[in-house]
C-alpha cells in the first residue's frame, strides 16, 4: 500500500476543506459578483481590487495577517472569544476562513464575467414578464450564467486544494484537523520519505490535469449557450 492512513486522512481533510470552501464561496461570491457586474458606484473599483488581492499577494502575507487578526489579541480573535468559540487559529474553521479569502477571486471573477456577459436585457425582459428580482435570479440569471458557475466551482475547489502557504501560517500541521495534502507532502519531504511524497505529489498532478481538462472541455461545449 503506497499511501499510509495519515496520507488518506490528509486527502480526506483536503477534500472536506475544498468542498466546504467552494460552497461558502459560491454563496458569498455570487452577490459580490452580481454587484460588481451591475453597479455604477464609485466603490466598484476599490471592491474589485480588494477581491483580486489574493491573486497577487504571497500566501504568507495573507496568512500572516489572518494569524494576527484571528489570534487572541486580534480583533477577530477577540470577537470569537467573546462568542465563546475560542480562537480559530490552528483549527479547521480557521482554515476554512483562510481558504475562502485566498480563493475568493477565483470564484468571483468567472461569475462576474458571466453576469456581465448576460447584460441587462434578459433581466428587463423578465421584469416585463412579471418576474420579480428573486424569481429572475433563479429562472434567468442562474441558468444563463451556468457555465460561469461551473468554472467558478472548479477553480475555487482546485485552488483551495493547491493551498499551502496560508495553511501553514494559520493552521500549522495538526493531523486530522489542519494537515492537508500539500502540508503532508512537505512533511514527507522533510522526513526524507521521497517515495511517499511521490505518490501524493503525483496524485496532485493527475488531479490538477483532470480538473483543467474538465474545465476546458466544459467551456467548449458551453459556448453553445450564447
Amino acid at each position: 500500500m503506497p499511501l499510509s492512513s495519515a496520507d488518506f486522512s490528509a486527502i480526506w481533510l483536503t477534500i472536506k476543506l475544498a468542498s466546504l470552501t467552494t460552497v461558502i464561496l459560491l454563496v458569498i461570491g455570487t452577490p459580490i459578483a452580481l454587484w460588481l457586474s451591475r453597479t455604477r458606484s464609485w466603490w466598484r473599483g476599490p471592491v474589485g481590487a480588494i477581491v483580486a488581492l489574493p491573486l497577487v499577494l504571497p500566501p504568507t502575507v495573507i496568512g500572516f495577517y489572518l494569524l494576527l487578526s484571528m489570534g487572541p489579541n486580534g480583533y477577530f480573535g477577540q470577537f470569537t472569544q467573546w462568542l465563546g468559540l475560542g480562537t480559530l487559529t490552528f483549527s479547521f474553521a480557521g482554515l476554512v476562513i483562510g481558504s475562502v479569502i485566498y480563493s475568493l477571486p477565483f470564484v468571483v471573477q468567472p461569475l462576474q464575467n458571466a453576469f456581465s456577459a448576460i447584460g441587462t436585457r434578459p433581466l428587463e425582459v423578465a421584469a416585463t414578464l412579471r418576474a420579480g428580482p428573486w424569481d429572475t435570479f433563479f429562472s434567468v440569471i442562474l441558468p444563463l450564467a451556468r457555465p460561469g458557475f461551473v468554472t467558478a466551482s472548479i477553480l475555487g475547489f482546485a485552488h483551495t486544494v493547491g493551498e499551502f502557504g496560508v495553511v501553514l501560517m494559520i493552521g500549522g500541521n495538526i493531523p486530522d484537523k489542519t494537515r492537508v495534502v500539500s502540508v503532508q507532502i512537505y512533511d514527507h519531504v522533510e522526513a526524507m520519505e521521497y517515495a511517499q511524497a511521490h505518490w501524493l505529489a503525483g496524485a496532485m498532478v493527475v488531479f490538477a490535469f483532470f480538473v483543467l481538462l474538465a474545465l476546458y472541455s466544459s467551456r467548449k461545449t458551453n459556448m453553445g449557450w450564447n
Partner: protein, 359 residues
C-alpha cells in the same frame, strides 16, 4: 385614458412630455432617433425612472413621484416588445411563451396559448430553440410572449426596425390582426412613417424630448404646422367606409369620414360598411378650377382651401384642403399656385392621382 407626464434629463438629453392619450387603439410615438421615444416607453414600463413622473393607465396609477409611488415593472400589467426579440436563449420557444403566462394570475388571463400561437402563426415553432429561428419568427414569438401576460397596455419599441423589408411585411399583417382582434391599447414606437400610417389611430410627434403634437392620425398628418407636412412623403391617412363595390370594374367606393364625398379604389371585394384605411400623398393631389370630366383620374373631390405654406424647397407649396370634413394635402408648384391665384376659402377641385390602400 392614459395620462403620462415625464421629466428626465441626463447629459445632453432632456425628456419633458405631458401626454393625454386614448385608452384604446394604437398610439404611435413617432420621431427621429434621439427624440426620446424609447426613453418615454421605458419610463412608462418602469425600466427607467423619470425623476419627476406621473403615469396613469386607465384607472391605474403606476408612478406618481409627488407621492413617492413607483410600481416596479414586474408588478405593472404591461407587455413589452423590444426591438430585438430578446428571447431567453436557455429556453425553448414554448418555455419562452410560458414564462410570462405562468406568472400571470389565472383570474387575469384573457389570452391563452392556443390563441396567441394562432394569432401570430407560430404553432409549428414551439419545440424549437431561439437560435434556430429567423428574425421575423423570433419577433413574432416576442410579441406572443408579451401578449400571453394579458397586458392592459402593450408597449412596442420599434418591433420591426431590426428586420428587412420582407420580414417586415411578414409581420405587419399580424400586428393588424392584433389591433382588430384584441382590445389592448398599444403604444408603438417607430421612426418609419409607413408603419405609423398603417397601424396607428393616434400619433404623438416627438422631437428633442418634447411632444410637438398629439392627436388622431388623420388630423395630425394633415397639420401644416408640423415638420411632417414639409417632407416629400407628406400625405394624409383616411379611414373610409365601404359603401359599394363595382364588380365589373373591380372598384370599391369609399365614403370619407364626416363627409358626403366618396372615393373609388381598385381593390378586392369588401362588404358594405367595412372600414378601409387609405393614404393619399400630397404629391399625388393636383388642383383645378373646374371639374375635369375628360380625364383618366378617377377621384375628383370638391374642396376648399384652408391654408398654405412653403414646402421643403422653394419651388413647391403645400396646400391644406377641406374635402367636406376630411383634410387633404396637396403639394403643387409655386407657379401653379400663382396661376390659380390660390387663397383661403377658395373652392376648387382636387384630383387624386393615386390612393394607396394601407390595411
Amino acid at each position: 385614458m392614459m395620462e403620462i407626464r415625464l421629466q428626465l434629463s441626463y447629459s445632453g438629453f432632456a425628456l419633458d412630455v405631458d401626454l393625454h392619450l386614448p385608452g384604446r387603439g394604437v398610439t404611435a410615438l413617432y420621431g427621429h432617433s434621439g427624440s426620446g421615444k424609447t426613453t418615454c416607453l421605458r419610463c412608462i414600463a418602469g425600466l427607467e425612472r423619470a425623476g419627476d413622473g406621473f403615469v396613469r393607465i386607465n384607472d391605474e396609477v403606476w408612478q406618481d413621484s409627488r407621492s413617492g409611488l413607483f410600481v416596479p415593472p414586474h408588478q405593472r400589467p404591461l407587455g413589452y416588445v423590444f426591438q430585438e426579440a430578446s428571447l431567453f436563449a436557455h429556453l425553448s420557444v414554448r418555455a419562452n411563451l410560458a414564462f410570462g403566462l405562468k406568472r400571470t394570475p389565472r383570474a387575469q388571463r384573457r389570452v391563452d396559448m392556443a390563441q396567441a400561437t394562432e394569432l401570430l402563426g407560430i404553432g409549428h415553432l414551439l419545440e424549437r430553440h431561439p437560435q434556430h429561428l429567423s428574425g421575423g419568427e423570433r419577433q413574432r414569438i416576442g410579441i406572443a410572449r408579451a401578449l400571453l401576460t394579458s397586458p392592459r397596455l402593450l408597449l412596442m419599441d420599434e418591433p420591426l426596425a431590426a428586420l428587412d423589408s420582407q420580414r417586415k411585411s411578414e409581420i405587419l399583417p399580424y400586428l393588424e390582426r392584433l389591433h382588430d382582434e384584441l382590445d389592448i391599447p398599444v403604444l408603438y414606437v417607430s421612426h418609419a412613417q409607413d408603419e405609423v400610417a398603417r397601424l396607428a389611430d393616434h400619433i404623438v410627434l416627438l422631437s428633442d424630448g418634447k411632444a410637438l403634437a398629439s392627436g388622431p392620425i388623420g388630423v395630425t398628418l394633415a397639420r401644416l404646422d408640423l415638420p411632417l407636412a414639409r417632407g416629400d412623403e407628406a400625405g394624409v391617412v383616411i379611414d373610409g367606409v365601404v359603401t359599394a363595390y363595382d364588380a365589373h370594374y373591380q372598384l370599391l367606393t369609399l365614403q370619407l369620414p364626416g363627409s358626403a364625398s366618396t372615393m373609388r379604389v381598385a381593390h378586392a371585394p369588401l362588404g358594405v360598411g367595412q372600414a378601409l384605411r387609405v393614404k393619399v400623398q400630397a404629391r399625388d393631389v393636383s388642383l383645378s378650377l373646374q371639374a375635369e370630366e375628360h380625364s383618366s383620374i378617377l377621384n375628383r373631390l370638391p374642396v376648399t382651401v384652408t391654408e398654405e405654406i412653403a414646402a421643403d424647397n422653394s419651388a413647391h407649396v403645400l396646400v391644406r384642403l377641406d374635402a367636406g370634413g376630411t383634410p387633404l394635402l396637396a403639394r403643387i408648384t409655386r407657379f401653379s399656385r400663382d396661376q390659380l391665384q390660390l387663397h383661403p376659402g377658395q373652392a376648387l377641385w382636387a384630383q387624386i392621382k393615386a390612393v394607396a390602400v394601407l390595411a
